[in-house]
């Protein structure tokens, strides 16, 4: 809390970002986001899109794990539901992207709510295993996809990538165009989720996380809100999955295995549980870590010969090391580190 700020109106009191510093920061971030694609080449655009897509998915998972306290290791499966729903609609019914993406998100929300049913009876580790089952069931259906008539992979027609009749291919290269779409969706997601936790529903989620019995006693309908949390979380997983399908143009189940679910959990743990910006930091960190390591190795391969032959092991080790270091030194994630840095400068030169 910053001193010297006095709210003189209800609107001021209710504002999501009450301080001018915060608004300035948002403006700066927006300027950078808008300027970035004009300077970046395709490699960095590709990375930015990957981060934006991962961030949407991670925010979705954070609603469930970070805010509502329900553990899920089935997130990869829900991403797959979104991707395949969008893919099948585009391939079979020739639907354009602006229809497939919302439909796929809603379908995923329903599937998520269905697999969230065990959460009514189960908690903690038991729920984790139940969601693991969801992951495995979904992937099994896809690998033995003769039921759904899917082969090993699904190629989406290029024509499906159009928004309200405007073909995306006409607007520039794929990475550049999708940057606006993925980042646009991410911004909408951030606005929606930030506001969600100021609403009755969001507060109910947090109450369930903190103490479910107490929440029930004060009148939170556990059944309804737990399923709602699963549905909202899966909605964003579906959104991320559907966008991935359209962006990549081809999907196979290999992209959505249990490893993916664990990666998303790692993202929100490293970024910060129960924080929207934390999910974005985590997604960026997990995507950039291997890329930066490999670029670092390339830059130093003059000085350190043979670094390339050790690189694969360094990359694997770095992933584990990052998680362990975070758990030891900053369990609250990158978002807390950022706060510490801010506090340090705000309080300087007095450290308390």
């Amino acid at each position: 809390m910053q001193s010297g700020t006095f709210h003189t109106s209800y609107a001021g009191d209710m504002a999501l970002r009450p301080y001018w510093v915060q608004r300035l920061r948002i403006a700066l971030v927006l300027v950078v986001v808008l300027a970035f694609p004009w300077f970046a080449d395709r490699y960095w655009l590709n990375l930015a899109n990957t981060i934006a897509l991962a961030a949407i998915g991670a925010i979705g998972l954070n609603i469930l794990v970070g805010y509502t306290g329900q553990i899920s290791i089935g997130h990869g499966g829900f991403l797959a539901v979104g991707a395949y729903t969008a893919g099948l609609l585009a391939v079979r019914l020739d639907m354009p992207m602006w229809i497939t993406v919302p439909v796929a998100s809603c379908v995923t929300a329903l599937v998520g709510a269905f697999f969230g049913l065990p959460s009514v009876r189960l908690k903690g580790l038991y729920l984790a295993i139940a969601t693991l089952a969801a992951q495995e069931i979904i992937i099994w259906l896809l690998t033995h996809g003769k039921l759904l008539g899917i082969g090993e992979s699904l190629t989406l027609p290029r024509a499906a990538n159009n928004l309200f009749g405007i073909s995306l291919a006409d607007l520039g290269n794929n990475d550049f165009v999708f940057y606006w779409i993925t980042v646009g969706c991410l911004i909408l997601t951030v606005i929606f989720v930030s506001n969600l936790f100021r609403s009755r529903t969001g507060r109910a989620f947090v109450a369930i996380r903190d103490q479910d019995i107490a929440a029930q006693v004060i009148g939170v309908d556990l059944f309804r809100y737990k399923l709602l949390a699963f549905a909202t979380s899966s909605f964003f997983a579906g959104l991320a999955g559907a966008l991935t399908a359209h962006y990549r143009g081809i999907i196979s189940w290999e992209r959505f295995t249990i490893d993916t679910s664990i990666l998303y959990l790692a993202m929100i743990i490293i970024g910060g549980l129960g924080s929207v910006s934390g999910s974005i930091y985590g997604a960026a960190f997990m995507t950039l870590l291997p890329a930066l390591l490999s670029n670092l190795a390339r830059a130093t391969s003059d000085v350190v010969p043979n670094i390339n032959s050790y690189l694969p092991y360094i990359q694997q080790g770095a992933f584990g090391l990052a998680i362990i270091l975070f758990l030891i030194f900053e369990p609250e994630g990158i978002v807390k580190m950022w706060r510490n840095v801010k506090d340090y400068f705000r309080l300087w030169p007095f450290s308390y």
Binding site: D41, R42, Y43, N46, L47, T50, T143, E152, S153, T155, N174, D175, R248, G249, I250, S252, E254, R255, P290, A291, L292, L293, S294, N295, L296, R298, A299, T300, S301, D302, P305, N306, I307, N308, S309, L311, P312, Y313, Q315, Q316, F329, E330, M337, N340, V341, Y344
Partner: protein, 416 residues
């Protein structure tokens, strides 16, 4: 505690900054060879006489699900570039391999491919798995990058759909059909009546399932009962349940579309179960690694080997490896396969330059389609690409493990 935490925060911040700086510093495209691979990265180091080095992109699996065969394959590719450079390069220009491990993960493959193509400006690309090659096919076509993958999925052989993908071995579908042809002949030669029963023991991935539909169609057309499909789970340490399922089905021939380690495991488990079943390996488990891992249990296994480790072309590769002390874990045929695939890619570049054309993806593709047969020194039958067919090789020989060595048991057989 608080102090400690702050120090860590600052340290992490500095580290992050340093990494970022180093990463940005690494961007200019005049990079040192990235394909050192443990054999002293001398690739492309010498001053070129006829112009700037020619850049070739590659992704390898050194740590992922198929690393057992991915590693010797990558060593073969790196070794070929070194050998070529030591012999004067291509038209006086050196070759530079820009390569990295992608751990058999599709997103990683997409990222590295984009980096190598857009930032390093590679003109051709050498890929690896089925899942990632199929995921990249749209981008490859858009970027016009001739692409030779170690995946021989039939879905990549039609130039009408994937004009820049080239296959240097018979497709997995053809390999399976050839293996089935051999099995039917073998059944007759053994004087057994009726028809044999087939089963598949496959890698649980697009790679594993790639040939099954075509193979099953062939089997059904020959009156064989619907083959049983059994996926072997990734990272399994015991395949007894899968083998029991195959035994209960009553299969006589089991076709394995898998890499060496799980295939060797299946052979060992089959031995301890005492199964009387003929195992037939397709490309990626029919190599010396299988014999090394399964030992005596590999005896009698039959394999479809598209890249024969005999022949003069293979001798050049193996001698070079011996001379340089390259350790590829004894997988001769896989090493030779990597070497040969790269040699075909480079043959296209060499011919394009010789014809006096500019080195663009489009020109190299056209050269491949019109240059006629490419000789691989007896490793494969001559490889021919055309404007209507990018499956360069059609025939292979069946081998059998006898006294711990692969021995050819047939002449070249083709699928059609």
């Amino acid at each position: 505690m608080r102090n400690e935490r702050r120090r860590f925060t600052l340290l992490a911040l500095v580290l992050a900054l340093a990494t970022l700086l180093a990463a940005c510093g690494g961007q200019p495209s005049t990079q040192p060879p990235a394909g050192g691979g443990g054999t002293g990265g001398g690739t492309g180091g010498e001053t070129p006489s006829g112009g700037p080095p020619i850049k070739i992109g590659a992704i390898f699996d050194l740590t992922g699900a198929t690393a057992d065969v991915g590693t010797p394959y990558s060593k073969g590719q790196i070794a070929f570039i070194e050998w070529k450079n030591a012999n004067g390069g291509v038209a006086g220009r050196q070759l530079q391999l820009v390569s990295q491990d992608y751990a058999y993960e599709v997103p990683r493959a997409e990222e590295l491919y984009t980096q190598f193509v857009t930032q390093d400006g590679v003109v051709v690309f050498s890929g690896w798995g089925t899942g990632d090659t199929e995921a990249l096919k749209g981008k490859i076509t858009e970027d016009k990058i001739p692409f030779i993958s170690a995946s021989y999925s039939a879905a990549l052989a039609n130039p009408a759909e994937t004009p820049y993908n080239f296959l240097v071995a018979p497709t997995y579908s053809d390999q399976l059909i050839i293996a089935m042809k051999w099995a039917l002949d073998d059944w007759k030669a053994k004087g057994k009546s009726g028809l044999p029963k087939f089963a598949y023991l496959i890698n649980d991935s697009p790679f594993g399932r790639s040939p099954l539909a075509d193979g099953t169609a062939f089997a059904r057309a020959n009156g064989v009962e619907m083959p049983l499909e059994v996926p072997s789970p990734r990272g399994a340490t015991d395949l007894t349940p899968q083998l029991t399922q195959i035994r209960d089905y009553g299969a006589n021939y089991v076709f394995m579309q898998n890499v060496s380690s799980p295939a060797a495991l299946a052979l060992k488990n089959a031995k301890s179960l005492g199964l009387d079943i003929q195992f037939v390996c397709l490309n990626w488990c029919a190599n010396e690694l299988l014999i090394k891992l399964a030992g005596a249990d590999a005896e009698g296994v039959v394999g479809a080997v598209p890249f024969s480790p005999e022949g003069e072309g293979a001798q050049v590769a193996l001698n070079f490896a011996k001379e340089k002390g390259i350790d590829y874990g004894g997988a001769d045929s896989t090493f030779v396969q990597g070497w040969t695939a790269m040699s075909i890619l480079v043959a296209g570049i060499e011919r394009t330059l010789k014809d006096g054309k500019e080195l663009t993806g489009e020109n190299i593709k056209n050269t491949f389609e019109t240059m006629g047969p490419i000789d691989t020194g007896g490793v494969t039958p001559p490889v021919i690409f055309s404007t209507t067919d990018h499956a360069g090789a059609k025939a292979l020989r069946m081998f059998r493990v006898e006294n711990g060595k692969w021995v050819a048991i047939t002449d070249f057989i083709s699928a059609r």
